[in-house]
């Protein structure tokens, strides 16, 4: 294990009764890396992610995130990561500002700090006109951009993004990825799931889960080379078909 590994997963397994949702997976993610975590519905992505963010206990194996053990130091893990999911990210019935204040408060930011950061965020996203409008009234793409910024409020070392761009329009989707690149460039590690295969190409490395196991893990370039195809979509299709 090198010092730079922000996520270190060893033989991680999760069983639900007889069913093995996550089957003995191992991988590591380096600092500042954009790591794409792909897989079909029901392949075990969400279960694996829940273990990494410390809200689900592994049945076997071990994982450290930001240097903390997910089993024994779950609280430390949670302090050092940001999390954003498609289903829940912000409160629709609070304004953008109120959401920022609320989430800042959760992570123990001082009110001066929150004020400064929310101003910076509003400037960066160009939200001056919308800062006091309810999040529920924003277009989805904007909501997701704000949610991503909120997930970064407490300067986490790693951000977990669970299908952050589902249903978002193409332009905003790309702006979102530019935000991701920017953070990765600053040294934040990005762990992201997506169903858009073009987004898989944006990642530094990609893992593909099939039926609880990681069946492929490499850079998009190498994967395409390995499967002798010219897009990640084809890699994905080939892999899932072969296994079945």
């Amino acid at each position: 294990m090198t010092k730079d590994n922000m996520i270190q997963v060893e033989n991680l397994t999760k069983m639900f009764g007889d069913f093995t949702a996550v089957n003995n997976i191992s991988f590591e993610v380096g600092k500042g890396e954009v790591f794409g975590f792909l897989g079909a519905n029901g392949a075990g992505k969400t279960t694996a992610m829940k273990m990494l963010i410390g809200i689900s206990e592994p049945s076997h194996g071990n994982a450290t995130v930001a240097g903390y053990n997910v089993l024994t130091q779950a609280e430390q893990v949670k302090k050092n990561i940001g999390y954003m999911s498609q289903r829940f990210s912000l409160y629709n019935d609070l304004t953008i500002k109120e959401n920022i204040v609320f989430f800042g408060g959760i992570y123990g930011l001082s009110s001066a700090d929150i004020k400064e950061k929310s101003q910076a965020m509003i400037n960066e996203l160009g939200l001056h006109d919308m800062a006091d409008s309810l999040v529920g009234s924003l277009p989805l793409g904007w909501k997701q951009k704000v949610a991503f910024s909120v997930a970064l409020l407490h300067n986490p070392k790693i951000v977990f993004l669970d299908e952050p761009t589902g249903g978002v329009d193409p332009i905003t989707r790309r702006q979102f990825w530019e935000m991701i690149y920017k953070q990765a460039n600053r040294g934040v590690t990005i762990f992201v799931t997506t169903h858009y295969m073009d987004e898989a190409e944006y990642c530094d490395r990609v893992s593909i889960m099939v039926a609880g196991k990681i069946e492929a893990l490499d850079t998009p370039k190498n994967l395409k080379h390995q499967f002798q195809v010219d897009s990640m979509n084809q890699v994905f299709l080939k892999l899932a078909r072969n296994i079945e």
Partner: protein, 303 residues
């Protein structure tokens, strides 16, 4: 015409979710409504399936007026709403049986129509719908929408949140259904699916940007388009943004799609510019536009 819309508008709280939309869908056509969340796709579907009343304009489905003859429409269309609306606590077979009976038919009567799809579900027919994977739920929902042999099939974002493998299979199923004289109106936020439709309407903010065959839409892209890559994608975006002769630059898979402002643009100039900025492994190649390029270009113009 199977579906006709004339100047349909609908507002919620003074926001126009559907703004003066008109188009026709021919019998047996696979027509795609392509646009992001909030573009007005669902509202349009609900108007056509008689669930909502438009503020303005008129529309017919299978020859019936959506307002006056809503009962006839309800007898002749199949509808699969955005979420797979199944009874989670009923088994696969019970769900299908239920939808068959409320449409006054039986599974046996229209089995040939759903056979292709249902054989994949049959091994799980005693499993509760709630316990199926996303792809399976999607297939079951499609079977349920087809069980009464509808003339027109409305599929609202049937592939959202479904993995690429299931998505591909789903589109193959739609292609086969089309052979059986069913008109299909389908919506999707995935631009790559657009090419699988006979004709598409690009829609955003309640307005239609363009309606045509996917090929014609791609051909209509007015500019030259180049794919660009280098070893550092983030830096590449930043440097392209400040390149003088830029119209747009967007990440597209492993490349960036770059459109120049001027006709006189030469790829060598860009390569040299990037070299000066310490990029390595630079590649600049002309490429063909995709639906997504067109969509972005059109919505940029529209703003």
């Amino acid at each position: 015409m199977s579906i006709i819309l004339n100047n349909i508008s609908k507002s919620y709280n003074k926001v126009k979710t559907v703004d003066d939309i008109s188009f026709d869908v021919k019998p047996g056509e696979l027509f795609g409504l392509i646009g992001p969340d909030g573009a007005g796709k669902t509202t349009l579907f609900r108007i056509l399936t008689t669930l909502l009343i438009q503020d303005k304009g008129n529309a017919t489905v299978a020859g019936y007026d959506v307002l006056k003859q809503y009962k006839d429409i309800r007898n002749h269309v199949g509808y699969m709403p955005g979420r797979f609306s199944l009874y989670q606590d009923l088994t696969v077979e019970e769900n299908l049986n239920f939808f068959a009976t409320i449409f006054g038919t039986t599974i046996a009567e229209n089995y040939d129509l759903i056979k292709d799809i249902y054989v994949q579900l049959e091994p799980f027919k005693d499993r509760r719908a709630g316990k199926l994977s996303g792809g399976m739920k999607q297939k079951l929902a499609l079977c349920c929408a087809l069980i009464h042999k509808p003339k027109v099939l409305f599929l609202d974002e049937p592939t959202t949140g479904v993995d690429p493998v299931s998505r591909k299979e789903f589109w193959e199923m739609l292609k086969r259904l089309q052979q059986k004289d069913i008109t299909i109106l389908v919506s999707t936020p995935y631009m790559d699916e657009a090419e699988l439709c006979d004709r598409i309407a690009l829609i955003t903010n309640g307005k239609i940007l363009q309606i045509n065959t996917p090929r014609a839409i791609i051909a209509s892209f007015p500019k030259k388009i180049f794919k660009v890559r280098s070893s550092n994608t983030y830096k590449l975006i930043e440097d392209l943004r400040i390149y003088p002769d830029i119209h747009s630059a967007y990440p597209f898979g492993e490349y960036l799609h770059f459109t120049p402002k001027s006709e006189a643009f030469r790829p060598m100039d860009l390569t040299r510019y990037l070299e000066e900025r310490q990029h390595r492994d630079i590649e600049v190649k002309e490429t063909v536009a995709t639906i997504e390029d067109t969509f972005m270009d059109l919505s940029k113009v529209n703003e």
